[in-house]
């Protein structure tokens, strides 16, 4: 059929309706007249002819309607009619429309908020070239249950040289950089990277260039790439910066390039080439792990193939270097999976929870629709009697649902907009920095389409069943005066089923929230092993040019400590390379006098370098032996203190005091230290991680270039910040102090994600409870209204108020009890899905299950009480007369 005439007909049908109507009427009238004349000519009298003609026509209106149905644009027209009718109906019932729209807004809004996070973090592809081809490589020791360990330089070089599956492989390591010059000395986090780092990612610098291969060599490696933010902030977005020299860590570097604005591989500002000295490539160095590795798969290679290839290479290396590489293999993980792995379980649980809330909201709105059905019944019965097809009535009712949903969705978008803002600012900085896409969370086109989609889906979910139900009236019943009908009973039963479902879903949600709350509480009860209150912490990293000599390093920290200890408000102060909840580092070690251990049983422990006052500052108990003193100085006999966990694991049957250990493997010629003390265990890497073996070297005998200062104060620890910073500047005016914080802040940060999960799930649970309570109240309220007459009769016959109360509340509570029963079963099955998020609490914890069930029953009881009390207020005479 030719298109153009159809379009012009469509146009005319829609916009020149009146004229077309008139023409059609004329045409039909003309037909009628002609037919009449025809009949007269066959011999009928004019009257009879006219009547016969009318009969043959079959009804003017019906003919007109049939023509209308055949016209193009008919469906559109009727849709438009449906919409206008729906709007009119909703306007007539503003209370209902508002409640329904708000309920939907809550459900849809929260889903949109969570989805925008899920989309940006989990679903959106990373902003690199072909991001699905990027793999993160790790060292793993399957027997020791370690799968994602950093990589050693010699291993990396071998993987890179021998593999056949990667287009490019690049290593990188975090590093600290102090920028000095015209402004204040500033400390930045940065990366040392292989020369092909940016090419591996597929990222071109915005200004200048990336590194050249030869710039990995010593002597050519004083070049740097800066981040866009740093370039803007500290160098005024100078377009001539590439080629200029800057002072980094006390040395001159030439800036060669600037990264693009949206490049956020890591929260770093500076990139310098990764150079391997010969010491870094020695056989022993094969056991020193510090590198992260990222690689790009060849076009037709899968991750499985790459994994196999790297494993084969690892086995070859294992045979060549059994001492360092027995049991150690390479692991290949998709890069995107690696960076979101931590947050994925929580996001999925939240998504599940928020969908439940939406379902409950839908159930409530469906209930509302069913409650209104009685008032629509008669209208629909009339329409059906006049010949309306059922599907048209259903379509019209559905258009009401769709409009409600769209309005709810629109309001929900507003809610989501605020919600995502709040969510982003509440998230811990560790998540914000390390999760790419975090800053891009917002209402973007994909999120909008999601909102639109679930708006339509919800309208079908809550609207279809009531529409189907209501559109099938028993005509005789509905057209009668009395309101009671079998359809009404069915509707009431449907509403009760919905309420039971709501209760069950709300229970499941609340149990999830309850389990998270219990986990959090368990975490808070954990014994730390030290006293975290009123402890100030800050980091110091000494440059490697100025502090090349160990004596310089020791000198700096000793001087700084002396001054800090004298500062007002400081009770005691110390240095440590890694304070609790601020990272960790471990070393393999060897116990003197024992035979060489098997390659897979080499001892290793957390490695700490401390000043003598450390244990006193953190109030870590000394269990046996002694702490370090001033006598344990540079030339004195070397000493070490171990913790109970190390003693128990590596000296199970003997007294550790007096024994000697050295860092490194059996054959390495490192100095031996004598064990002089044993201290209590402390939680270091996380509240939910077991006590680990630790050993402590005195800083006077093993200097380090970076350490944290910890100080116990009388008042607010942060008030020490300026004093400590100035003290450090007094010792070295170019030395910045980084990350001043309190120990309690560090501990709190470590559980921020858990806390956030708990709060969010708690909010969802509370909302679900409120919705379910409203649902049960609605149903019971309606029941009471229906039973007004019966209650009136009963009370007239002598029933006491208490009996009526009992009857109504009993009815409601039986609904609630069924809901709770089903919900308990559902929760029993479902909570194991969130096991990874729990701590110290079983997914089927009876106390939580029982407590939440009682809570829900209690709330349901209150919700039933109100209509029950209204029932008892019924005046029997009024009730009897009402009908």
């Amino acid at each position: 059929m030719p298109l153009l005439p159809r379009l012009s007909s469509l146009w005319r049908n829609l916009f020149h309706k009146a004229r077309k109507e008139q023409e059609l009427t004329e045409e039909i009238d003309a037909y009628l007249e002609l037919l009449t004349e025809q009949k007269i000519n066959t011999g009928l009298a004019p009257e009879a002819a006219r009547r016969a003609a009318l009969l043959e026509l079959g009804g003017k209106q019906q003919v007109k309607e049939q023509v209308g149905e055949a016209r193009i644009g008919y469906q559109l027209e009727t849709c438009w009619q449906d919409i206008r009718y729906a709007l009119r109906m909703l306007r007539r019932n503003p209370g209902f429309a508002t409640v329904a729209a708000l309920t939907l807004a809550l459900g849809i809004g929260m889903n949109t908020a969570i989805f925008s996070v899920v989309y940006s973090v989990l679903l959106r592809p990373l902003p690199y070239h072909a991001p699905e081809k990027l793999m993160a490589l790790f060292s793993m020791r399957p027997q020791l249950n370690s799968f994602r360990s950093v990589v050693s330089a010699p291993d990396f070089v071998d993987w890179r040289a021998q593999n056949r599956v990667f287009d490019a492989m690049s290593a990188y390591a975090f590093n600290g950089y102090t920028l000095t010059g015209s402004d204040l000395p500033e400390r930045f986090s940065g990366l040392r990277v292989s020369a092909n780092f940016f090419q591996t990612l597929g990222v071109k610098p915005q200004l200048g260039r990336a590194f050249l291969p030869e710039e990995e060599e010593a002597g050519r490696n004083r070049v740097a790439v800066l981040s866009y933010g740093l370039w803007e902030r500290r160098f005024g977005a100078d377009p001539g910066l590439p080629g200029k020299t800057v002072s980094i860590n006390g040395e001159n570097y030439i800036v060669v390039g600037v990264t693009p604005n949206d490049f956020r591989f890591a929260p770093v500002e500076i990139y310098t080439p990764l150079t391997f000295a010969s010491a870094d490539m020695s056989d022993m160095a094969r056991g020193m792990h510090s590198l992260r590795v990222i690689a790009r798969l060849k076009a037709d290679i899968t991750r499985e193939q790459a994994k196999t290839d790297i494993e084969n290479i690892s086995r070859r290396i294992e045979r060549q270097y059994p001492v360092t590489n027995t049991g150690k293999y390479g692991n290949v993980i998709p890069y995107q999976q690696d960076i979101v792995g931590d947050i994925r379980p929580s996001l999925l649980v939240l998504l599940g929870a928020v969908s439940l809330v939406l379902l409950i909201a839908c159930a409530n709105v469906a209930n509302l629709l069913l409650a209104r059905a009685a008032s629509r019944q008669r209208e629909i019965a009339v329409r059906t009697a006049l010949g309306a097809a059922r599907w048209r009535i259903v379509r019209q009712l559905l258009s009401e649902s769709v409009i409600l949903s769209l309005v709810g969705g629109g309001l929900g978008l507003l809610l989501a907009y605020w919600g995502t803002d709040a969510l982003i600012s509440a998230a811990p900085s560790s998540v914000a920095d390390s999760t790419p896409g975090w800053k891009q969370i917002g209402i973007n086109p994909q999120v909008l389409s999601f909102t639109l989609l679930i708006s339509f889906l919800t309208s079908v979910v809550f609207g279809l069943a009531p529409a189907l139900q209501v559109s099938k009236p028993d005509l005789t019943d509905s057209l009668k005066e009395s309101g009671k009908s079998s359809a009404g009973f069915k509707r009431q039963r449907a509403r009760k089923v919905l309420v039971v479902a709501e209760m069950a879903l709300a229970l499941m949600l609340l149990i999830g929230a309850g389990l998270l709350i219990r986990s959090f509480q368990e975490l808070q009860q954990i014994t730390l092993g030290f006293n975290p209150s009123q402890v100030f912490v800050a980091d110091v990293s000494l440059g490697n040019v100025k502090y090349r000599e160990t004596s310089q390093q020791i000198n700096f920290f000793q001087q700084a400590l002396q001054r800090i200890e004298k500062s007002p408000g400081v009770l005691s102060a110390a240095t440590v390379n890694f304070p609790p909840f601020s990272g960790s580092s471990d070393r393999v070690f060897t116990i003197a006098g024992q035979p060489e251990p098997a390659p897979d049983a080499i001892p290793f422990a957390n490695y700490r370098v401390i000043s003598p006052q450390y244990f006193r500052t953190l109030e870590i108990p000394l269990v046996r032996g002694r702490a370090f003193t001033e006598q344990d100085a540079a030339g004195a006999p070397r000493v070490v203190i171990i913790n109970e966990a190390l003693a128990r694991r590596y000296f199970p049957n003997e007294d550790p005091l007096g024994k000697q250990i050295k860092i490194g493997r059996y054959m390495e010629a490192n100095p031996l230290h004598t064990v002089v003390g044993i201290v209590g265990n402390i939680k270091h890497r996380g509240l939910d991680i077991e006590f680990e073996p630790e050993f402590f070297y005195p800083i006077s005998q093993t200097p380090v270039r970076f350490s944290s200062i910890v100080a116990r104060t009388q008042g607010d620890p942060l008030s020490l910040t300026t004093a400590v910073r100035n003290t450090v500047l007094q010792v070295d005016k170019e030395q910045p102090l980084t990350r001043p914080r309190t120990m309690e802040m560090a501990i709190s940060d470590s559980v921020t994600q858990r806390r956030l999960n708990m709060i969010l799930l708690g909010i969802f649970g509370a909302l679900a409870l409120a919705l379910a309570a409203v649902g049960i109240y609605g149903v019971m309220s309606y029941t009471v209204t229906q039973r007004t007459r019966e209650i009136g009769i009963r009370m007239a016959l002598g029933a006491r108020r208490r009996d009526v109360l009992k009857s109504v509340v009993g009815q409601g509570m039986s609904l609630a009890a069924s809901g709770v029963g089903i919900g308990l079963l559902g929760a029993f099955l479902a909570t194991r899905l969130m096991e990874t998020l729990l701590f110290g609490v079983k997914p089927t914890d009876p106390a939580t299950f029982g407590g939440i069930a009682l809570l829900l029953l209690g709330v349901a009881f209150l919700a039933c009480l109100i209509p029950a009390r209204q029932a008892t207020m019924v005046d029997p005479m009024v009730a009897l007369r009402s009908e």
């Binding site: 023409e23 045409e27 003919v63 049939q66 023509v67 193009i72």
Partner: protein, 118 residues
């Protein structure tokens, strides 16, 4: 004139016969422009009374085919000097008639063969 009671009465038969009705209307108008009643009379005439097209089917068909571009209408004077809407075949309509006629002949031949097969 024998009036057979067959015709476009039942819902189920309507779809099948819509195509047939279209073809008959086109054929009727191929013989010359006509108004609604005239088309209906002509169809009755050329089918020897088998098809009596009621206005409830005729008018929708006429309007539909006009919208599709096969017919074109204009107001004119009828035989009894009254205003009536006349329909006329367009070029496209003529082509459509040819196509439908060929299809129909092909189909009826096939069905006839099928019914004869044992």
């Amino acid at each position: 004139m024998k009036e057979k009671k067959t015709g476009l009465l039942k819902e189920k038969k309507a779809d099948l016969l819509q195509g047939t009705l279209d073809m008959l209307v086109l054929k009727a108008l191929a013989l010359g422009p006509m108004h609604g009643l005239g088309v209906s009379n002509r169809i009755a005439q050329i089918t020897q009374g088998v098809f009596q097209v009621k206005p409830g089917s005729l008018f929708p068909a006429l309007h539909r085919m006009e919208e599709a571009g096969w017919l074109i209408s204009s107001w004119g004077e009828s035989e009894n000097n009254r205003r009536a809407k006349y329909y006329r075949l367009t070029k496209a309509g003529q082509r459509q008639l040819k196509t439908e006629t060929e299809d129909w002949q092909r189909i009826s031949l096939a069905i006839a063969n099928a019914l004869q097969a044992t």
